[in-house]
Subunit: 206 residues, 2 copies
DNA sequence: GACGTGTGAATTGTTGACAATCGTAGGTGG
DNA sequence: CCACCTACGATTGTCAACAATTCACACGTC
């Protein structure tokens, strides 16, 4: 437990916070992130900072240069959506088909929990939270499919377009629609209609 | 310069060597990789080893567990190909279209250099090298397109199926065919026929 | 004024040491 | 014989210090 409330296993915690900061615009694209500054800021040594920076560099959130540290990657251009949407549809519907026939009550309980949190985040217009919950919902499908390859691919994709999630959420006239769409997906899952579920998932991905 | 010939900036070099070892089967799936052992083996401290392991974990080559180190990930199932081939085609042809009209002499020089190395590797039946050169060729297209998003996505995909590249290469009756196919792609680039180039690239991706 | 060179501060990259955690082996009790 | 507990060695996670590199600024020369 550090002075900043972080516990052992710092890398992931630091990476998560930095990712949040980048997505929230607290670090601009092109901004240089200094290990020394971050170590001061998190109240830890540079070792775990470096590891977190490696992770975020691999996610594409940062761009590294030997001996010169890392800068915040520029936002993915909008044109990338035309590419990523079909890829996401391919990957996520594939995952859904893998496990649809073995959905359990535990699965539904987990989704209901996510939906409850999503509803609250929508009510509060907390867009960082709605993004993370939207991502978490879709991630749960990949995790449930139980294929690490798919999950790795999907995570890379989503890391690159998180900013787009956020922009899309903020543009919605009624943020409750985020919740409603995912509510509807889970409801179709309950009906056991796989093809309807696949179609609804595809509609959600855009 | 370490005793093992490594120079400063160890992470990438170590990651590259470990990746090669994993792909060559020198570490079995499920095998635990100990930082201490690797540090001894490479003749360096554990710091850069840890960073390399973070990188390879993000690539999906390794699976980490807090406080317990990392194990070698199991090979991607063959069924993943049916998913990855279309994704690769989507990504790589998109990239090719982005830069095709601005191909330079420097581009051709780089590809000729790759092809020369590929030819030699084929003659020597050095399948690790043919895989890396095949990957390098395709990677060059992504790099040339100048979109970090695409490159990150592509790298994640390819990291997961490198073993498949290797198996495919080893199955070829004549390894020179690897060279010949890529030779033909570059030749079509020289003719400036974009659509033919896209089609030939798609045929190569399988 | 423009260009080149040198210097020093800040930072990155690596190392070795210390703290914390885990897994295994052995001992004890029921 | 089995279950539980404890101890210890090996390893992971983190820290602070040292070495190497980069960049910005100041100064000198043309």
């Amino acid at each position: 437990m550090t002075a900043r409330g972080l516990i052992r296993g710092l890398r992931e915690q630091i990476a998560n916070q930095l990712r949040d900061d980048i997505l929230s615009g607290r670090f601009e694209a092109g901004a240089r992130l200094s290990e020394t500054m971050l170590a001061d800021r998190f109240g830890v040594s540079r070792g775990p900072i470096r590891e977190a920076l490696v992770q975020l560099t691999n996610e594409g959130m940062l761009v590294g240069k030997p001996n010169c540290g890392v800068v915040v990657a520029s936002a993915a251009p909008d044109s990338i959506r035309e590419l990523i949407v079909p890829i996401r549809r391919t990957v996520e519907t594939y995952a859904l088909r893998q496990f649809f026939d073995s959905i359990t009550d535990d699965d539904f309980a987990a989704w209901e929990e996510l939906l409850e949190q999503m509803k609250k985040a929508c009510q509060k217009k907390d867009y960082n939270a709605t993004v993370e919950l939207d991502v978490a919902f879709h991630r749960s499908l990949l995790v449930r499919a139980g294929q690490p390859d798919l999950l790795a691919i999907w995570q890379t994709i989503v890391a690159r377009i998180r900013m787009h999630f956020r922009q899309a959420h903020m543009k919605m006239k009624d943020p409750m629609r985020i919740y409603a769409e995912h509510r509807a997906i889970v409801d179709v899952f309950r009906k056991g209609d796989k093809e309807a579920a696949v179609r609804m998932l595809e509609v959600n991905i855009e």
